[in-house]
């Protein structure tokens, strides 16, 4: 729907790098939350948060276990493009004013 730029600018490179970091961080947190739920002796929930931000919630219920995503995951997905868009905003506004 939109053209894929041939030469990515610095904001795009920063965004992609941040996304890769976020992917690794999310992967590590997912595995940790899964392990917590699996290793639990009884039923319960095992929130996995960094500070006040919850990312995953492991659960163990009657022998079954799993992981539910929490709203912190949304931050992890949104923060890189939000930073990229903020970095591109100046140049996009300049294009809007001058066509350059």
């Amino acid at each position: 729907m939109v053209s894929i730029p041939r030469r990515p600018s610095l904001p795009t490179v920063i965004t992609i790098a941040l996304w890769l970091v976020a992917l690794v961080v999310a992967g590590v947190m997912f595995v940790t939350a899964t392990n917590l739920a699996r290793a639990s002796a009884g039923d319960g929930v095992f929130p996995f948060a960094l500070g006040p931000v919850p990312f995953f919630e492991g659960f163990s219920d009657d022998g079954r276990f799993g992981v539910r995503p929490q709203w912190g995951l949304l931050l992890l997905v949104l923060a890189p493009p939000a930073i990229g868009l903020l970095l591109l905003l100046g140049r996009a506004r300049n294009f809007a004013r001058t066509g350059e």
């Binding site: 729907m1 939109v2 053209s3 894929i4 730029p5 030469r7 990515p8 600018s9 904001p11 795009t12 965004t15 995503p69 929490q70 709203w71 995951l73 949304l74 997905v77 949104l78 493009p81 939000a82 990229g84 868009l85 591109l88 905003l89 140049r91 996009a92 506004r93 300049n94 294009f95 809007a96 004013r97 001058t98 066509g99 350059e100």
Partner: protein, 186 residues
């Protein structure tokens, strides 16, 4: 589950339509730095508009509203049709990156361009608003706001280019077709 199928089918339809109605490849024509930045911002805004609604559903599945989902499906299909028609009508003038086109010196004012000045972008915004709403959670629509902001900036930049290219003819067109995306609103 059905909302995911509808969402995937809509995205597939959009990709197929973009592949079928390709812009004419041109070697000539300077692309401004701002136009490139605008392209990159649109890519990021598209990723946000595509990724956030299903993630919201995973976080808050209880908020599904069937009426919103059906309205979203209809809006997305209408947007896809409008964008496809706009691209076909633009023909040689259709380009993904905004720039002056001295080798196709015709201002397109027919078809949907007789009603709004940027029906392709209107279709794009309708499509992503509809796609976000397919999950039945009105909150997903917020994910399209960055795209709306950058579409607004892109339209203003494109109009600067069109005014430079067509001066009096473009001024007459903007006087005749007063709205950019949505009649009587914008």
């Amino acid at each position: 589950m059905s909302s995911f199928v509808a969402w995937a089918a809509l995205l597939l339809g959009a990709v197929v339509s973009e592949l079928i109605i390709k812009p004419r490849v041109r070697g000539a024509g300077e692309i401004a730095e701002g136009a490139r930045a605008s392209d990159q911002a649109m890519v990021l805004a598209t990723v946000v508009a595509v990724a956030v609604p299903p993630l919201l559903l995973a976080l808050t599945p209880w908020r599904e509203t069937p009426a919103v989902a059906i309205a979203g499906l209809v809006l997305a299909i209408a947007g896809l049709v409008l964008r496809s028609v706009a691209m076909v009508v633009l023909a040689q003038r259709y380009q993904l990156t905004p720039r002056e086109q001295p080798d196709a010196p015709t201002l397109v004012t027919r078809g949907p361009y007789a009603n709004v000045r940027h029906p392709g972008y209107a279709g794009l915004v309708m499509f992503f608003l509809g796609t976000a709403a397919v999950f039945g959670d009105p909150g997903g629509i917020v994910a399209v706001f960055p795209m709306i902001l950058f579409v607004h900036l892109r339209i203003r930049g494109e109009e600067v280019l069109l005014a430079r290219e067509f001066s009096a003819e473009f001024a007459a067109y903007t006087a005749r077709v007063r709205y950019r995306l949505l009649p009587r609103i914008y």
